[in-house]
């Protein structure tokens, strides 16, 4: 409890750091909302016109003043208005978030569903043929760039099956579950591909570590059956690094999968942020990054709590 409270207290501090970093760095990128909207035609504007647009985009004040204003708004729960979407930033983000969340969950289910059993299988068959096959598959999976997997999936689907997942707009799970799944399953496989491979490697490696630990050898010596040793004694401890890895990875996926969203034309958080950077929609970039950071912190907190729950040797917050 004490630990939890102390952790939660650090969140505003981290978020402040994140906001400072993003606020000033995006303004250091050459070009602004005016050139983003007008392109080279921006050169035709008279100084009066330029001033009018700067006021419209809220970039006519010194950066520090802009930050102060934005921070003041934030404290009242106002992330500002996106100039591209003409809506409050939070509204825009929350429209895109369900897709990202579902995609991340699906990818994680795929990764853990394949990765953990495969890792355990490989570790318990150490150096035998099963192990070698699993390791080779895992390595190949990990060595393939996500965009290649995605492009190949789209190519194979469209050429051989005359089908592509619905692109452009998102069908929420609650409107049409089947259409929703049809839309997300292939992007999720693309994301889960490499993710499953890392989970496999980490599970195997952790499992091998644990299996060579004294207490496992003791359990074995005491005559606990092999299967029980593996699943009841070894796995919970071996899961510690798996939890860390999946937590970090899931936290990242919640930030949106830029490349996969690009290839499958999904309107998720990753593309939202990327487009916002391209259009110099500063309020939206800040909102997105802050939102993603907040989620990431929460996920990490949960990971650490799980870490403590799984490894009795760690007491959180103890000196």
């Amino acid at each position: 409890m004490n630990y939890l409270a102390r952790r939660l207290l650090t969140f505003p501090l981290i978020l402040l750091g994140v906001s400072l970093l993003v606020f000033f760095s995006i303004r250091m990128i050459p070009g602004d909302a005016i050139t983003a909207m007008l392109g080279t035609e921006a050169g035709l504007l008279t100084p009066v016109q330029r001033q009018a647009l700067a006021a419209y985009f809220g970039i006519d004040q010194p950066v520090v003043v802009q930050y102060g204003r934005w921070l003041a708004g934030l404290l009242q729960g106002d992330l500002g208005i996106s100039v591209t979407y003409g809506k409050p930033v939070l509204t825009v983000i929350l429209e895109r978030f369900p897709l990202t969340l579902e995609l991340a969950l699906l990818a994680m289910v795929i990764a853990l569903g394949i990765g953990v059993p495969a890792g355990v299988l490989a570790a318990t068959n150490n150096e035998r043929s099963t192990d070698v096959v699993v390791r080779i598959l895992a390595m190949l999976g990990q060595s393939t760039p996500g965009f290649v997997v995605g492009l190949v999936i789209i190519y194979v689907l469209s050429v051989y099956f005359g089908f592509v997942p619905a692109m452009g707009s998102f069908t929420p799970l609650w409107t049409d579950p089947l259409a929703n799944l049809g839309q997300l399953i292939f992007p999720a496989v693309t994301l889960g591909f490499a993710f499953a491979a890392s989970v496999t490697r980490i599970s195997r490696s952790a499992m091998l570590d644990v299996l060579s630990d004294d207490y496992i050898r003791t359990a074995r010596a005491k005559g606990v059956p092999g299967r029980s040793v593996v699943w009841h004694h070894a796995l919970p401890n071996a899961l510690i690094p798996v939890v860390t890895l999946s937590g970090v990875e899931f936290g990242y996926l919640l930030g949106g999968a830029v490349i996969v969203e690009q290839i499958f034309a999904l309107p998720g958080l990753g593309r939202l942020t990327l487009d916002a950077i391209g259009q110099r929609d500063y309020a939206l970039v800040q909102g997105c990054v802050l939102f993603v950071a907040f989620n990431f912190l929460i996920v990490n907190l949960l990971v650490d709590l799980a870490y403590a729950a799984l490894d009795p040797r760690i007491r959180l917050g103890a000196r």
């Binding site: 990128i29 050459p30 070009g31 602004d32 050139t35 983003a36 909207m37 007008l38 392109g39 080279t40 035609e41 921006a42 050169g43 035709l44 504007l45 008279t46 009066v48 016109q49 330029r50 009018a52 647009l53 419209y56 591209t84 979407y85 003409g86 429209e95 492009l151 789209i154 190519y155 194979v156 689907l157 469209s158 050429v159 099956f161 005359g162 089908f163 592509v164 619905a166 692109m167 452009g168 707009s169 998102f170 089947l178 259409a179 049809g182 399953i185 690009q262 290839i263 499958f264 034309a265 309107p267 593309r271 939202l272 487009d275 391209g278 259009q279 110099r280």
Partner: protein
């Protein structure tokens, strides 16, 4: 085994999804469209991005528009006339023209629209094309009279763009233009999710005739390979393509048709004559002679486009082979190089990532060609916005660009090459003769004489080589073969979708 399993699962999955798609109730006839870049805003007077214009052209109408042959034809105005001294331009408004809420388009709407355009607070980039307008009057609801401060032949063509759209006076008064659309065009925008999709329905009040379907949904698919896949799978009826590498794959597909039309925009290597040694005429000419334009076209654009001089509109363009050094001539290039006294140098060339898609490839071919005469190019690829920023500031040695074209030479080049042009700081180049030719062309109303003037202008510009004009690009749309009737235009407008019929 594993392979077979995967394929079975995939086939099953695909079949399952297809069957759900087929099980949907019969829907109203709808044109499913896709493009890779979305509109950036809804105000027709301030939006200049290609993608915004393509959307707004379906919703709003200007007084006049250009047809496929680039001739001026009626839109909101049914007729127009210049006075003999060229100082008065009078429009008669089509009595059937109505906004989508049913209200008639009146001369007050036209007046209010142009007053808004000319107001600096509106920040309309197109304002610079209308500075010769000294007064706008609306003597009766069907008549608008523009008084000009000097004869301005290109002004009619300048009005034939959606940046001079007629918007309702009441929308100007209540300030709703940037957030809501109310136009007199063929479609009404029902829904817009920026960077995801648009939903349009047919405007029943449109004066331009009947449309053979009920509406359009536009999906934004940022990856053009995905657009092709979606077309191939029959999930998109009609798509806009930018990348020639993707477009050239379309004809291989039995169910698809590619429409290609040479655009007015030109690919160009902009030299910066304010920086040494590009200030040296002989050196610039040496570069022009060293460049093999056909080779760049064949390699970087996979042959899609045409070698062009400065003028790209068929009505004014000269045969490129008559222009200075349009055939690669390395001997001459080396001789000019020797004359210039410049002995090999390194220059940085800027290019935008993916805008146009062939920019990086063009830069790489140019790099290899210019190496032949001892010029080393260093390529700096950057994000579009960063590029625009550098480009506008004239902060480059050389720049690979795709600059927009106009149906008329004057508005196309006055911004760069007249002394008071807004973009002289980009071209960093003026010349008395060029300046005077542009001025003459502007006030001359006789077509044949204008043609003569602009041919001189083009030849002189090519010879002075402030920029190395390379080629036009093709504008592409791709469609299922079940779609017919679309008319392409060199301006890139998608207005031709109003003629589309969908076979079932």
């Amino acid at each position: 085994m594993q392979m077979k399993f995967t394929r079975t699962v995939l086939a099953g999955m695909a079949a399952m999804l297809l069957s759900t798609a087929l099980a949907l109730p019969a829907q109203a006839a709808e044109l499913r469209m896709a493009w890779s870049q979305d509109a950036t805003g809804l105000d027709p007077h301030t939006q200049t991005a290609f993608s915004s214009l393509r959307l707004l052209e379906l919703i709003y109408e200007p007084l006049v528009r250009l047809d496929a042959k680039l001739d001026v034809v009626p839109a909101v105005a049914e007729s127009w006339s210049f006075s003999d001294d060229g100082l008065t331009l009078t429009f008669k408004i089509d009595a059937n023209a109505k906004f989508s809420d049913g209200a008639a388009v009146t001369s007050e709407d036209v007046k209010a629209s142009f007053e808004r355009l000319l107001d600096e607070a509106t920040a309309a980039a197109a304002r610079s094309n209308f500075l010769s307008i000294s007064a706008i009057e609306a003597p009766d609801p069907a008549t608008v009279v523009f008084t000009l401060s000097q004869p301005d032949a290109p002004i009619l063509v300048a009005m034939a763009t959606i940046n001079a759209a007629v918007v309702p006076a009441k929308a100007i008064a209540d300030g709703s233009i940037a957030t809501a659309t109310l136009g007199s065009g063929p479609f009404v925008l029902d829904q817009w999710d920026p960077n995801a999709k648009e939903v349009l329905s047919v405007n029943p009040n449109w004066a331009g005739g009947d449309i053979a379907y009920d509406g359009i949904t536009i999906s934004v698919l940022p990856d053009e390979t995905a657009i092709l896949a979606s077309l191939r799978a029959g999930q998109t009826d009609f798509a806009l393509l930018n990348d020639p590498l993707v477009a050239t794959l379309v004809p291989n597909e039995p169910n698809l048709q590619l429409n290609a039309v040479p655009g007015l925009a030109y690919n160009v290597l902009q030299l910066n004559p304010s920086r040494a040694p590009m200030d040296n005429l002989k050196l610039r000419q040496a570069i022009s002679c060293a460049v093999d334009r056909q080779d760049i076209l064949d390699t970087a654009l996979v042959g899609e486009g045409k070698v062009t001089g400065p003028l790209t509109m068929p009505a004014y363009a000269s045969d490129p082979s008559t222009l200075f050094c349009y055939e690669q001539d390395l001997e001459k290039a080396k001789a000019l190089m020797a004359e210039s006294g410049v002995d090999g140098f390194t220059a940085k060339v800027i290019a935008a990532t993916g805008e146009p898609p062939v920019a990086s490839a063009e830069a790489q071919v140019l790099q290899s060609q210019l190496a032949e005469i001892g010029i080393t190019l260093e390529i700096e690829l950057m994000e579009l916005n960063v590029y625009v920023d550098r480009w506008l500031a004239g902060d480059f040695d050389m720049a690979v660009a795709l600059n927009g074209g106009r149906p008329d030479p004057y508005p196309m080049y006055n911004r760069y090459f007249t002394k008071e042009g807004n973009l002289v700081k980009v071209s960093n180049f003026t010349d008395d003769e060029i300046d005077s030719l542009l001025q003459q062309g502007r006030v001359e109303t006789d077509i044949a004489k204008r043609k003569e003037i602009f041919q001189k202008f083009e030849a002189r510009l090519a010879e002075l080589s402030p920029w190395i004009w390379l080629s036009t690009s093709n504008l592409y749309t791709a469609q299922l073969k079940t779609v017919s009737g679309f008319e392409s235009s060199a301006t890139g407008t998608l207005f031709g979708v109003t003629k589309i019929t969908l076979a079932q």
